[in-house]
Subunit: 342 residues, 2 copies
Amino acid sequence: MRLAELGEFGFIEKIARLVGAPQAPVVVGIGDDAAVLKLTGDGYLLLTTDVLVEDVHFRRQWLSPEQIGTRAAGMALSDIAAMGGRPIAAFVSVGLPPTLEVEPAEELMAGLSRTATQYGAVLAGGDTTASSQGIFVDVVILGTTHQPWLRNGAQPGDILMVTGSLGEAGAALALLQAGQVTDASALPEALAKRFANPTPRLAVAEALAARNMVKAAIDISDGLVQDAGHLSQRSGVSITIESARVPISPICRQTAQQLAQDPVQWALTSGEEYELLLAISPEMAEQASQVVTANGEIALTEIGYVTEGERVVVLDESGKPMDVTLGGWDHFGQDPLCGGES
Amino acid sequence: MRLAELGEFGFIEKIARLVGAPQAPVVVGIGDDAAVLKLTGDGYLLLTTDVLVEDVHFRRQWLSPEQIGTRAAGMALSDIAAMGGRPIAAFVSVGLPPTLEVEPAEELMAGLSRTATQYGAVLAGGDTTASSQGIFVDVVILGTTHQPWLRNGAQPGDILMVTGSLGEAGAALALLQAGQVTDASALPEALAKRFANPTPRLAVAEALAARNMVKAAIDISDGLVQDAGHLSQRSGVSITIESARVPISPICRQTAQQLAQDPVQWALTSGEEYELLLAISPEMAEQASQVVTANGEIALTEIGYVTEGERVVVLDESGKPMDVTLGGWDHFGQDPLCGGES
């Protein structure tokens, strides 16, 4: 069997079995947004690594070198937000074609360093190497937390909430793939921001972590339904998503109309959105929502609930279960960036 | 200017300038074998990342998938040894062609996990992705130490010492490049071990660190003279290497004779040897040597000394300065694996 048939998640499961249960000082190993270690002193150490590969995760025509760096940092920082953590340092391994000009290579590193520093993670090391083909960037973020948010803490009765709005990454990708715009900078502002410079929800994480309000969390990098599936599987619960409640921005709806696409489908399945999906006790939901709103420009919206079972159900606007064609991200299988080729 | 002209070290310098001085909790950032962080609690946290790229650092004809994993883990662990540290956890980001069979992919991960675990670093996370071309492996090792060995601690009057022997990695590569053997497993045993499964000198590091005997250290990954150059530059001292004292194993000499090559040249310049180069006070030298010998099968040998200045001098057997053609590793410039192409 080839990796393309097994798929990314199947392969990760094989690795997890091979490695076995975590041993001290590792508390949580493979299978969450970041690893959790318990060293001496207070709290926990978090570590996440995130790879971006040219023509798998990005195209050089669509993103400037600086945007590649910015995006790579943002996606890795988002994993620390998903653990309720605070970033403290960044490291980057880059593979670059030796024929690449020095200037774009520096711009990539500058975008990465600036974004990481902006969120408190100063660039502290890494590795540089020639790549025989395209660019790849592997970002490591080290973080800390007093109490990590895991994927396995959701319980029946919990409310499912999401930060910000969903579907903009899908809208941006659709415009680029349709050739309606030539690169990220030509996208409508909100879509350009989401695609090239996504905001890791670290401020939200900090505000909610301080109040101990979150029972389980994941960031939406594979697509809402797929990431809800990860929560469901790890927590051993069923999750119901009420699609009509999923927040979708005006520009996302407008883009969908322009391309005759369904914005709800984007919101349910598009990856790389980098919002947080949270399981919260119902009695905490309103307070959590207020904390997030008070904290900045985005909202925290209730979009579903947790029940007994082990599956994800998506309800349409009339409350009937609907079929969702899982796009999402499987890096060995389908590849949404390259239009399904593998 | 292209990266190939600037070279790996020129590019790293540019990144270091861009990032600026380390800020808490980072104590040592870009430019040593690993980054050093001071968190709460005793001691320091170490973090290193090391990338292996197919056809830059290895060829799939020469190494089995398991050996690729083993070698990747060994080279990253060696950086922790070079800091006088103890590994506590490993993380790996891999890029794999989707057309690759699952079995070799698993073998690669198994080799990596087994090697890391053997030295105390359980595999705790990472990322997996499709690669549009060959395999790449980025290994992150987290370690701890009570007092990090830095590159900048060498002082005039210090003795320069090296663990084990040098040149075997050069001998292995020469046999493979000459087509004398078809893959690493067909190499003489000691060369196969060095090439496919190098021993990170963690036991030596632990023994010497406990006795506070080392003033500066680096592992030999770029080549002895080049790595001595890194020590020299960071410490602001001159280093003299007495080439006749550099330990060379019988199998290395025998291979050199077979290929009509100079084993001293290999010992001085070949990368990926993964021995430790240490600056030690002269009054400590004998005791350090005894500690290492008592600890295992390898020796610690005096090969030179530190003086005022800022350069590296290599003396031939008659004590005259000699010219050394710097092979070594510059991952953007020359590429010893691919015979100098870039």
